[in-house]
Symmetry: none
Subunit: 401 residues, 2 copies
Amino acid sequence: MIGLEQIGEIARSTPSKIVLLVIDGLGGLPHPETGRTELESAKTPNLDRLAREGICGMIDPVSPGITPGSAPGHLALFGYDPLKFTVGRGVLEALGIDFDLKPGDVAARGNFCTVDAKGIITDRRAGRISTEECTHLCRLLEKVTIAGVEVFVSPVKEHRFVVVFRGKGLSSQLSDSDPQRDGLPPKAVSPLAAEAAKAAGIANEFIAKARAALADGYPANMVLLRGFAHYPDFPKMSAVFKIKPAAIASYPMYRGLAKVVGMKLLPTGATIEEEFFTLSANYDNYDFFFLHIKQADIAGEDGDFERKVRVIEEVDRALPRLIDLDPDVIIVTADHSTPAVLKGHSWHPVPFLLRSKWCRRDAVEEFSERACASGALGRFPATEVMPLALANALKLTKYGA
Amino acid sequence: MIGLEQIGEIARSTPSKIVLLVIDGLGGLPHPETGRTELESAKTPNLDRLAREGICGMIDPVSPGITPGSAPGHLALFGYDPLKFTVGRGVLEALGIDFDLKPGDVAARGNFCTVDAKGIITDRRAGRISTEECTHLCRLLEKVTIAGVEVFVSPVKEHRFVVVFRGKGLSSQLSDSDPQRDGLPPKAVSPLAAEAAKAAGIANEFIAKARAALADGYPANMVLLRGFAHYPDFPKMSAVFKIKPAAIASYPMYRGLAKVVGMKLLPTGATIEEEFFTLSANYDNYDFFFLHIKQADIAGEDGDFERKVRVIEEVDRALPRLIDLDPDVIIVTADHSTPAVLKGHSWHPVPFLLRSKWCRRDAVEEFSERACASGALGRFPATEVMPLALANALKLTKYGA
């Protein structure tokens, strides 16, 4: 496949506009009674119209058979090979709470846990303390100071928190302190590369001081850290694709992923209607829009087939606002499937439609898994979505003479 | 995908014959009035027969969304990954005028330009002098001598020419002398690698002597060079695929590309009928034929939908001559799409058909973009055409035990 560098050489800035509408977890599986997927069950006259006027296919977010997390699913749609461009656990955790990571920051996922008098872990989750308690304890930990480094501690949910070290020359090549089971003491954080010795010392100093600060915190009297990761320094979409990209997403994780690739984050209301309104309100100022609808994925994760159907129908009702803007390229797809019957992400390819003046329309008459599987785009990797989008917006010049 | 080396290990020479018919720029887009592409508008009983008797699909010449130039489009069809096997600008320019490049040659694209008394460029194209004037000036420049190197200067068109340096140990890692805009002096050619110092010296000496030779040539009183490139030393098709390949092409660029991969260039008349006649006349002497039809691409580039339709129909009328030879494998496809409505190459996948005794026929009833999109070969990279051709000619043994 063509790489970002090669794309960068043929991409050019033009006034044409692209809207990438991602209905998170859109792909589904048939309802056992009706034999129809969520998308096939929903009444979607506007999506069907776009499918009729466009060209369809099925995308594999990461690779056939692979169930993607949110990060690889989205990075692939943004044109970044998710097997090459990886985002570490600690960073994802920080992005998920809207923490404003800077280049060079090292983030880790933290658990509050319980240790006995000998320092042996008796509960890796400290009895799943409340989020309120977690927030209180994070405030305590924020008082920990380490020479030459800024330390940030932010609550996530229940026993989970994020710690971020900000300073010069910090490596993230660090082992976990979490032994991943009870009955053992926390491990010392070790450097996994020569240059990580300083960062390991800082992590261990933080852990020691956290233990002291939490001495009276039973059951949350210790911390476990894992997934140390650097905020990634990915090429920016504006530099690679010569576009001015904006993200409309109401969930922190997706805003974070959009930030990683250099999109401008547009303030938006959280409902589907509000997100479409944000698109209209900012339409003149950017030439690429990532519009993220989270609700379908949540319904899928909850195993709520009917709610997922209703979310899809709500998106469909909001679509005319987008269609009326008449972007040069409209793409509707997802980052992965979340079939309600599986109550979670899955490996199934994702329906994809692209409408543009130059798309070479196919015979597909409706937007559904079954119909898209017979679309003229066939089945293809999600990393090819951006080249296709740019091509259809006439933003790519010829490769080779 | 399987690489050339691996193919080389399983390829074997057999008497079976393959004809690869490339209708340059064949793929199209619907006419706004009829909704049918050029190929869908043309009456093509013979192509439709081959589609019925064969197996069809759609190929991506370089990568989805990428608009290929002639070189990457053809190299992919010949089995060479166009993202790995690249041909430099200077070499393409030389191939385009049938210049007989040898291994080791360094070629550059030249412009005649105008400089003022201070040596500042006032017109990068010297007022687009006539091709006759260009030819005359190239003869002047051919008198430039440089110790230890042969220098060839050949006119291309208007202000464009090609310069070729032939000598031992010349690197092509050289910067352009063309600053790409007026108002600046030409740049000195610099070595981009340590071993290129000698070649840079030669290029700069040529430029200085050219300036002296052109002193009275106003407006063409200076030269600009760019795109220095080595004649590529690609593996030859005969060595990799164990075939004896011949090319029938009436345009220099395609003969040049065929030469780069080691095909024998057959002398031919320029009409479609004459090219098919050349195939018949040489049929016994080779086992692989690349038959190139340029006219469809030209009509597409001209935006002449009707002419492109007529070219396709003319190819169809000539086809029985090919079919009567009864090659073991017939392939009809293109190097890229050139939709008349876009007046240029495009990124759209290209219809593909393969007929052989062993092809596992599919349900496709006609040769068209729409029909091929539902073919059993699906959508696949053009680099897989050669393995498919060889397999269907029973020229590949088993991979692995």
